[in-house]
């Protein structure tokens, strides 16, 4: 029998049902993998005791015929989701030691379906970053290396720990959040699949807020089917989040028919950006051919305001962040500087508690919202956001989904792109527009570059149409036959 950590979620569920192994054995195999690969720094808090306790309860439920849809499946939880009684840091010093007294809706739903929690994964501080290098708890190391080169690479960000843990086979799946690409870009960098559903599909209640009009929870796993399984459990209306949609959750699994005959796939011409590496254009071209060979038609579409998406994002996201992060004042929870004067206490608490990237974004946001600049920056950005959203809706009058590269490069070395914030922001050039429009998007590993690093393709769909996104992604997965394995996993197997 293959190792338990090699299984997909779907096959593990079958194995558990057939009594090939127990949930406790499955949890233990992953706890061992977590210990063996602790050098990746994928976790901020490991919770093996909770995992074993949950796995024992799962085995009992299964024995009495009460198993849920994810019963006994070991998952990692991004440390942005509040977990009752388990430290939740958002990757920030200011929340070090914060123990939520409530459970986020997303994690509660996963636990209600029987999922097992291995721990809380590392991330960019408050999910602000594309490399997982802004975490107060250290960098996450990508399990992939360039061929013949031991340089440590970033797993992407902000959900870098979740993506690395899934790629390294420490967990079977993980939660992430995506504000401008924080699920799709790390999925691409780590050679796994990750989906951000439509804004409003999952409740944001109990998730540490970054930019409330953009933040959306989603999933990581090693197959499209596993993502569909996880997403089905996480989705749904929540009265505690007024922006969560009161819509029925479709059976995402049923969408994976492999049949895309007659579907029209749009290829946005503005995504052919200057300086795109040849390997990425070639991979995109291969993806187009795959979909055509499966019976879809591809057409060129135009999203004319794409060029302005990053600038729009870097007004709206920091503006919302500066407002959301005002709550970290040292009074009710989190770090407090010991000062006798109230203003000193606020200012020094925040100076000590936040890292550089978070401070930069709070200040950009504060500036954009300040008197005299509000209309010129914030309202202007909201207007351009509408134009970007309308671009997509017009394109979807002619096509059912879009195919694009996920990121403009493969994983880069830790420390690269740090000299210039704008250079780092460019990582999200293909993911930010769909975030601004609230659309569902998935990244599927589709090939490797000349150095052996994974590259992802992105499928973007209409609002509330995760089914088509998953269906098309399933076809890409099937034709890409991505069977590459990260070096750290190969080494562990040797």
């Amino acid at each position: 029998m293959s190792k338990l950590t090699d299984l997909t979620i779907a096959s593990a569920l079958t194995g558990l049902e057939n009594k090939d192994f127990t949930a406790v054995e499955l949890a233990q195999a992953h706890i061992d993998a977590m210990a063996e690969q602790s050098n990746l720094n994928a976790f901020i808090t490991e919770t093996p005791d909770i995992a074993l306790k949950q796995a024992e309860a799962s085995d009992k439920r299964r024995a009495s015929g009460d198993a849920g849809a994810l019963d006994g499946i070991p998952l990692a939880i991004k440390d942005l989701f509040c977990t009752n009684g388990v430290q939740t840091t958002a990757g920030s010093h200011i929340l070090e030691g914060f123990i939520p007294q409530y459970e986020s809706t997303v994690t509660q739903k996963l636990f209600d379906d029987g999922a097992v929690m291995l721990g809380k994964t590392n991330l960019d501080e408050f999910a602000m970053g594309s490399s997982n290098t802004t975490s107060y708890y250290g960098n996450v190391i990508n399990p992939w290396k360039r061929d013949g080169d031991d340089t440590d690479l970033t797993p992407g960000g902000s959900s870098g720990g979740s993506a690395a843990a899934v790629a390294a086979k420490i967990c079977m799946g993980a939660t992430g959040t995506d504000t401008g690409g924080s699920i799709r870009q790390p999925a691409s960098f780590c050679g796994i699949t990750g989906i951000k559903p439509t804004y409003g599909r999952c409740s944001r209640w109990g998730t540490v807020a970054f930019a409330s009009s953009l933040d959306q929870a989603g999933t990581f796993a090693r197959t499209v089917e596993d993502n569909a399984l996880l997403l089905r459990s996480m989705s749904g209306h929540d009265p505690k989040d007024s922006t969560s949609a009161n819509k029925d959750v479709p059976d995402f699994l049923a969408a994976l028919t492999g049949d895309i005959k007659g579907k029209v796939i749009g290829i946005p011409k503005e995504y052919r950006v200057d300086g795109m590496p040849e390997e990425i254009s070639a991979l995109w071209q291969r993806g187009i051919k795959w979909l055509e060979s499966a019976g879809a038609t591809t057409i060129e579409v135009s999203l004319p305001h794409t060029h302005y998406a990053l600038a729009t994002y870097y007004v709206i996201a920091p503006a919302e962040a500066s407002s959301n992060l005002a709550r970290y004042d040292g009074v009710r929870f989190g770090h407090r500087a010991k000062e006798d004067d109230l203003t000193d206490m606020y200012e020094i608490t925040r100076a000590e508690g936040f890292g550089d990237e978070v401070k930069r974004r709070i200040m950009i946001g504060t500036y954009a919202l300040s008197s005299g600049y509000y209309d010129a920056y914030y309202i202007k950005a909201q207007k351009v956001r509408r134009l970007i959203s309308q671009d997509f809706l017009s394109a979807f009058e002619k096509c059912d989904a879009l195919l694009t590269p996920t990121a403009p490069s493969a994983a880069f070395a830790i420390g690269e792109n740090e000299d210039d914030p704008i250079k780092m922001y460019l990582n999200d050039v293909f993911t930010v527009p769909a975030s601004l429009a609230g659309l569902p998007g998935i990244s599927i590993p589709a090939g490797v570059d000349s150095q052996g690093l994974p590259l992802g393709l992105q499928v973007i769909g209409r609002p509330w149409d995760e089914e088509t996104v998953l269906k098309v992604a399933g076809v890409v997965e099937n034709l890409a036959q991505f069977t590459y394995v990260p070096q750290t996993v190969k080494k562990a197997a040797a």
């Binding site: 600038a311 040292g330 109230l342 200012e347 351009v384």
Partner: protein
Amino acid sequence: MSLDKESVKKVASLARIRMSDEELERMMPQLSKIIGFVEQLAEVNTDNVEPLANVVDITPELRKDVVNDGDCADKVLKNAPEEIQGYFVVPKVVE
């Protein structure tokens, strides 16, 4: 547009983040660069375009105006940096 040190200092104070002179100097070119980058939005014609605040077609529901939580002061205070007898403690505000 580039921000001078006084403007950066003012923003830091509005954001309640204490910054040393050295930090203000370091932050100044970085913020100027980002502001310069986002200023390209001025090129876009947005005449007669309504600002977009709510991206999807859902109307937030109003909940009934009733108490639906409470009686959990211990939980609320659990993570307080300092508390006394069921209250948060803060530095003296009024002399």
